[in-house]
């Protein structure tokens, strides 16, 4: 079975540009979460989507947005890129969120570099 797939794997942008990152969850998983991981830090929660609705948002500015499609895939959009947005962006999927029993399955991430 395919795991969580993310594209692209690497991306280089310049300040002020816009970026779209994509994620396909494991088949049957309806919840997708996005995390930002800066080098040397743990992943930080950005968004969670379940059944195409936003269910949670972390402490990130409005430049960050996301959506989930009918096939449960998801996009993370970041506008007006800043140097500080350089990080590994991780997507995670799970069966049913919010119970505390689910475990997250992570993709390998998109490494974003902002110059």
């Amino acid at each position: 079975d395919a795991g969580v797939t993310q594209s692209p794997t690497h991306l280089i942008k310049t300040r002020g540009q816009h970026v779209t990152l994509r994620c396909s969850p494991i088949s049957g998983h309806k919840s997708v979460s996005w995390y930002q991981q800066v080098l040397g830090q743990g992943p930080q929660f950005i968004f969670q989507y379940y059944e195409k609705e936003e269910r949670g948002r972390g402490n990130f500015p409005d430049r960050f947005s996301a959506r989930q499609f009918p096939n449960y895939s998801s996009e993370l959009n970041v506008n007006a890129l800043l140097l500080g947005d350089s990080a590994l962006y991780l997507c995670a999927s799970s069966l049913v969120p919010g119970t505390g029993h689910e475990k997250l399955f992570f993709g390998s991430g998109t490494q974003l570099s902002v110059l």
């Binding site: 830090q41 992570f106 991430g109």
Partner: protein, 110 residues
């Protein structure tokens, strides 16, 4: 706000030298504590979920334990392939906001 503190930040062990990683946490109602392993350039890989104080789980050379304030990941007779960053995380919200620590980078030397 949920907080997770891991120590040490880095640990270097000789092959076969057992040790423990610590994760202390502050949450408003723990729904699950997770341990993940992360290799360079990869996403975290799930290891364990613990739900209540006193619970223990084992997998090969790894054993995770939980108290009301902290969790330990014990590594018995580690091998070089155990080298990775080990992340601790807690889930306390009604939705899936999981708060991670910064991790412990483990290096096992042959």
């Amino acid at each position: 706000e949920d907080q997770v503190t891991q120590s040490p930040e880095a640990l270097r062990l000789q092959e076969g030298e057992s040790s423990s990683l610590n994760c202390s946490y502050t949450v408003s109602g723990l729904r699950g504590l997770f341990w993940y392993r992360q290799d360079p350039g990869k996403g975290p890989e799930f290891l364990f979920t613990l739900y209540s104080a006193g619970e223990e789980k084992e997998k090969e050379r790894l054993k995770a334990t939980l108290t009301k304030k902290e969790s330990f990941l014990h590594i018995t007779a580690p091998k070089p392939e155990d080298s990775a960053t080990y992340l601790c995380a807690v889930h306390s919200g009604g939705y899936q906001k999981v708060t991670f620590g910064i991790g412990t980078k483990l290096q096992v030397i042959p």
